[in-house]
């Protein structure tokens, strides 16, 4: 380990950057424990004169069933991830390791899919789901995201790097291709799976656009929608409660990232950044 003195410039620069990054969060935390009248002031006062944390957080949890939203968020993200793995992993394997007619076309389609943002198929999908009577539930929230081209892309890169001998040995053992995928290939690409899981969960936990359209009953709302509830038009915000709700909805993500950090970076590294 380098001596502290020579490490200081590095730490100093990093801390400066970190301060800029953290600035909005400092405000967020500070506002979440202040009463309305103290949040916007001309002077910088981080600690409230009147501690309002209990009121703000109870309002955030009580005015809407925020915990229920967190549960919905967790459930939906889990379902989406499961579906994505189910569809993408076999496909990625097929693209990476097998020869079959149409392989090139499928890969081109995958690349094309990467470029299409979620907003594009939104309206046609909404109408279709509505006609099928499937709105306002986990199906509607998860279905459009079931196939992730990003997953196919990432896993393909990772699988390509796996040695062919592994697969040949499994075939010699009499395993069918399907079994190979789930029992040999995926376990060997666990870091990639963690990395992808992080990307996926982060994207869908915070998704606002789609739940805003398909959710009609409060009970089914996701975390992002729950926070939006406190943000009314034109400063009608109950800022204290809004910030409290924001803190509550961000916390799980932060905790999860802290736990999965190392694996995540490992996973991204093996996902084909070596070409």
């Amino acid at each position: 380990m380098k001596g502290l003195a020579s490490d200081l410039p590095r730490l100093g620069l990093l801390s400066l950057g970190a301060a800029v990054i953290l600035a909005p969060y400092v405000f967020m935390l500070s506002a979440s424990v202040k009463p309305g009248g103290e949040i916007f002031q001309a002077t910088l006062e981080l600690w409230p004169r009147r501690f309002y944390g209990v009121e703000n957080y109870s309002k955030a949890l009580g005015a809407v069933p925020l915990l229920r939203f967190l549960l919905n968020g967790a459930a939906v993200c889990a379902i989406i991830l499961a579906l994505q793995l189910l569809f993408a992993v076999p496909c990625a394997y097929a693209l990476a390791k097998l020869e079959w007619p149409g392989r090139g076309t499928v890969f081109a389609l995958v690349l094309l899919g990467l470029l299409i943002p979620a907003h594009v198929p939104a309206l046609p999908l909404y109408v279709a789901l509505a006609k099928l009577g499937l709105l306002d539930g986990y199906t509607a929230l998860a279905a459009p995201f079931a196939v992730s081209v990003f997953a196919v892309f990432m896993f393909r890169q990772a699988f390509k790097a796996l040695p062919d001998e592994l697969i040949q040995a499994a075939r010699l053992d009499g395993m069918g291709e399907g079994a190979i995928v789930w029992r040999v290939i995926l376990p060997n690409a666990w870091p990639t799976a963690t990395a992808f899981a992080t990307f996926s969960v982060v994207a869908h936990w915070n998704d606002l656009f789609w739940p805003l359209i398909v959710i009609q009953t409060e009970r089914m709302a996701t975390p992002a929608l729950g926070v939006l509830f406190f943000r009314a038009e034109e400063g009608g915000n109950d800022v204290g409660a809004l910030m409290a709700a924001s803190v509550i909805t961000t916390l799980p993500m932060v905790a999860a990232f802290l736990l999965a950090q190392r694996r995540f970076i490992q996973g991204v590294a093996t996902a084909g950044l070596k070409g």
Binding site: G37, A130, L212, Q216, F229, F230, A232, G235, G236
Partner: protein, 419 residues
């Protein structure tokens, strides 16, 4: 397989099976802006069910804004799943009515011998009429009022008890507030967002948005005066080009003196204003005698077409727009009641207005309220945005009132439905 024994058994059992009591009707009621209305709606729902036990009320997820509420109804009208009743912004009723989404309330009102006796005067009913058809019952109405921080007014040498009643006076005071320095801004006239406050100036000069046949833009002369007044707000009143959120935040921090906007802001101002702010309200400055003010707010509309549900829906709507519902609404927000009975009777709001000075100016301005204008055709929302964009040019001092008048007239004309 129906055996004889089974059939016999059922036949014998029949008289002993009690007829099931009719299940209560569940009314689905959709509303916008939960930050303003959630508590109000919950209370109205409970009070209604207490009086009408055979109907329960369910509120699906409320929409964040009037625009979202409109989109939701439009989407569900196409894809299915419409609620029975919804609350929509007054200026969007026309859009929905033109697409035959709203039920005609005429026959229901006719059951009421004398609407005025129930507290609904023709002018109140008129706010929710489109093309002569009654498509909604006004629920919450608002008009523009002038909010100020009495501390800043005093520091600038003004008298909060005698706040200027005309624009010359207000602009002069604003200029003095700006001169206080120390990061203090003078005023904010809520011009962003939509054309509502602009129409306040327009109507103040006795102008109209479109000609009577609604084919031509008619702001012309009054429009120029309105734009010039906005220009004066910047030049004389030193109004900075802030977003409305920034203006509110500065106001809460005691760094902005005057805000002109809807009376609906009262609730949040009371909650968020800091300790250095002495919040007071007063009527809008008079432009010309006989000038009018636009009415904001929303009305409750009926979406269900099923006659049985319609009856239940009507009962709810009457209740919400009736004295009890209106009292709950006013106490919970800064809006003005849409029912005259509430004002006269101490059981409802008679005492309320005596005790709560902040709410009075809006109430006093009720006689000069005029409906919120809705542009015909399908470009209504776009037209309001065009007006706002052009107002921004004046506020940022990038164009003169004459130039803006010419451009906005041109652009709005192009967006009107072609004959």
């Amino acid at each position: 397989m129906i055996t004889r024994r089974l059939a016999l058994g059922t036949a014998l059992a029949a008289p002993f099976v009690r007829p099931a009591r009719a299940a209560p009707t569940e009314l689905v009621v959709h509303y916008p802006m939960p930050a303003f209305f959630k508590d109000v709606m919950d209370q109205v729902g409970q009070a209604f069910t207490r009086d009408n036990p055979e109907t329960t009320v369910r509120f699906p997820a409320p929409s964040p804004t009037y625009e979202d509420a409109l989109q939701l109804v439009l989407r569900q009208a196409t894809a299915g799943g419409l609620p029975d009743v919804s609350f929509q912004g007054l200026n969007r009723l026309r859009f929905l009515a033109e697409r035959n989404i709203l039920a005609d309330l005429g026959p229901f009102l006719a059951q009421d011998r004398d609407p005025a006796a129930s507290g609904w005067t023709p002018s109140i009913l008129g706010l929710a009429k489109v093309g002569g058809k009654q498509v909604g019952l006004t629920f919450s109405a608002s008009n523009p009022v002038c909010y100020f921080n009495a501390n800043l007014v005093k520091r600038a040498g003004g008298d909060p008890e005698n706040f200027p009643k005309d624009w010359d006076g207000v602009l002069a005071l604003a200029g003095k507030i700006a001169a206080l320095g120390d990061g203090i801004s003078s005023m904010h006239f809520r011009w962003p967002g939509d054309d509502w406050m602009f129409s306040a100036l327009l109507y103040g000069y006795g102008g109209q948005m479109l000609t009577a046949d609604e084919k031509q833009v008619a702001f012309g002369d009054a429009g120029l005066k309105a734009l010039t007044l906005l220009d004066r707000m910047v030049k004389e009143g030193k109004m900075p080009p802030l977003t409305t959120d920034a203006a509110f935040q500065a106001f809460y921090a005691g760094k902005l003196g005057i805000i002109m906007g809807t009376t609906a802001y009262i609730g949040q101002f009371q909650r968020s204003a800091g300790p250095t702010v002495d919040l007071q309200t007063t009527r809008m400055p008079v432009i010309t005698p006989g000038g009018k003010l636009p009415t904001g707010g929303n009305a409750v509309v009926m979406l269900t077409k099923d006659p049985a549900r319609q009856a239940a829906a009507w009962q709810f709507m009457r209740f919400a727009a009736g004295p009890v519902g209106q009292t709950i609404m006013v106490r919970g927000t800064g809006y003005v009641p849409s029912n005259t009975l509430t004002l006269e009777d101490d059981r409802y709001l008679g005492a309320f207005y005596r005790e709560n000075k902040l709410f009075r100016p809006a109430m006093e301005q009720i006689p000069i309220m005029q409906p919120w204008y809705a542009f015909p055709g399908s470009n209504g929302v776009r037209i309001t945005q065009t007006i706002v964009d052009n107002l921004a040019r004046i506020v940022e001092q990038r164009a003169t009132p004459q130039e803006v008048l010419r451009d906005v007239t041109d652009e709005v004309q192009k967006l009107l439905p072609r004959a």
